[in-house]
Amino acid sequence: METLNSIATIPLAVTIGPLQLANPVMTASGTFGYASEFSNLVDLDRLGALVVKGISLEPRSGNPPPRIVETACGMLNAIGLENVGLERFITEKMPFLRTCQSRVIVNILGDSIEEYAILAKELSGVAGIDGLEINISCPNVKKGGVAFGTVPAMAAAVTQAVKNVTELPVIVKLSPNVTDIVAMAQAVETSGADAVSLINTLIGMAIDVQTRKPRLANIIGGLSGPAIKPVALRMVWQVASAVSIPVIGIGGIGTAEDAIEFLLAGATAVQVGTANFYNPSATEQILAGIDLYLRQQGETSVQAIIGSLRLGA
């Protein structure tokens, strides 16, 4: 068995800037709670990283119901960034997360550049946190509510402010609801982002024709799930082709084949999101499936397939 195991082991480790991951399979923020929710169903020691629910300075209660609606091969959500806030996150959620062998990345969100900076600074002093992911799909209250993630200069400024106060690796999570996502990626790269993750949800809507009312109390919400995968894959390919920092692919990934498509398109790692809801085993199945694929393809490491998309004749 020992011989078999040594033959069988294919290196799955990847590097996200200064951050070493045991493998490229991560959970996506907002779809995995604070990880303890899945402790009975998923081996939390085996994943590349756990990206926890977005944290704001103060607790947020979120949007009124209904908050979610199923759509064709996907779902719309308007949760409204409900979270326990920085203080309770550190005291109530981090003790469990520290027991997980997987890397822990904390997603942060704010209403102003200052809030992002405070969050980054405070979290940098907390043991057990391996990286930060900046959610820039939030309105900048001081700039009339325009989302940080839609104006390259604002995204760059948030990135810079966070980088100035933390030694932790910084990932910037990009919104697809922009004219040019490549310009966004380049702007945050220039400001020192260690990596970008994309895509966040696509803004969508659904209507109940009987009542003629929107199906979400918030009227509009973020579309996620398999329905968005082709859009996400296209954006990941475009961004990976244009920046030199690592790209983390997100969007409708539910199977190993989905994940491998993103790796081939240039993603160094992937995040599994909505699939955690309908199949909590998705991350573990994807990990096993990547290993099997590498074997079948005769590859000796996962690194070998990243960005190995074949173009031309």
Binding site: E37, L41, R67, I68, C73, I79, Y278
Partner: protein, 261 residues
Amino acid sequence: MSEYQENSVVQSNDRVTDSLYRLTLHAPRIAERAQPGQFVMAACGQSLDPLLRRPFSIHQASATGTLQLLVKVIGRGTRLLSSVRPGDIVNLIGPLGRGFSRPKESPVCLVGGGIGIAPLVFFAQRFLHQPPPSEDCVVLLGSRTGNEILQLAAEFIDLGCLVLTATDDGSHGHHGLVTDLLPPYLSQIKKVYVCGPTAMMSAVAGICHDATVPCEASLEAHMACGLGACLGCTIHGADGSYKHVCKQGPVFNAEEIAWKR
């Protein structure tokens, strides 16, 4: 509390009415730990559309590993689930959520409307003396029409409960609302347990509040995960906060809920 993801095997699928099916599944890990009022998230079909699991309260669970779900066909997901055959696999996650509290005093009253009757059968089996003296448990069942509740009413009677029914079309029992049946009994009742349409539960909660009789209600909400991660299954609490049906419920003290909004 521990939940499991389990490939259950369909043992039988019995049609109760045109749109109501009783699935008997072999799901030993979930069945062993299930408590009345808890639920499972069931995968409907094998494809990505419909994408999400559907929540079902546990209708019955036995020590021999069988779990029963009462499935009312509402949309495509429930239609797929209602068409399973013996030997098919249904992937389940459960048992989930906070169930009913075990009654400390009798008599109690169970009020069920439509598909909401499902968890009350499990309640009566697990929590009441076998059989209870009929004056110890009054069961009030409401539905659109009689054939939806005949079989379920018979099961409560077999368990020893006193059963009264109400139907919208008058085809069985009282012609009217099930809530009409509650007030005459309320003075003797120590606690009411209700599951059904929101309007009906709201009415029961109001009647109980006015009579200062404690009431527990099992709520329903759209949810993506059932695990407390998606935060989609929000309802309004009486204290102005949001509550999540999957983790804080699905069974709540009726006083915790903002019924009138």
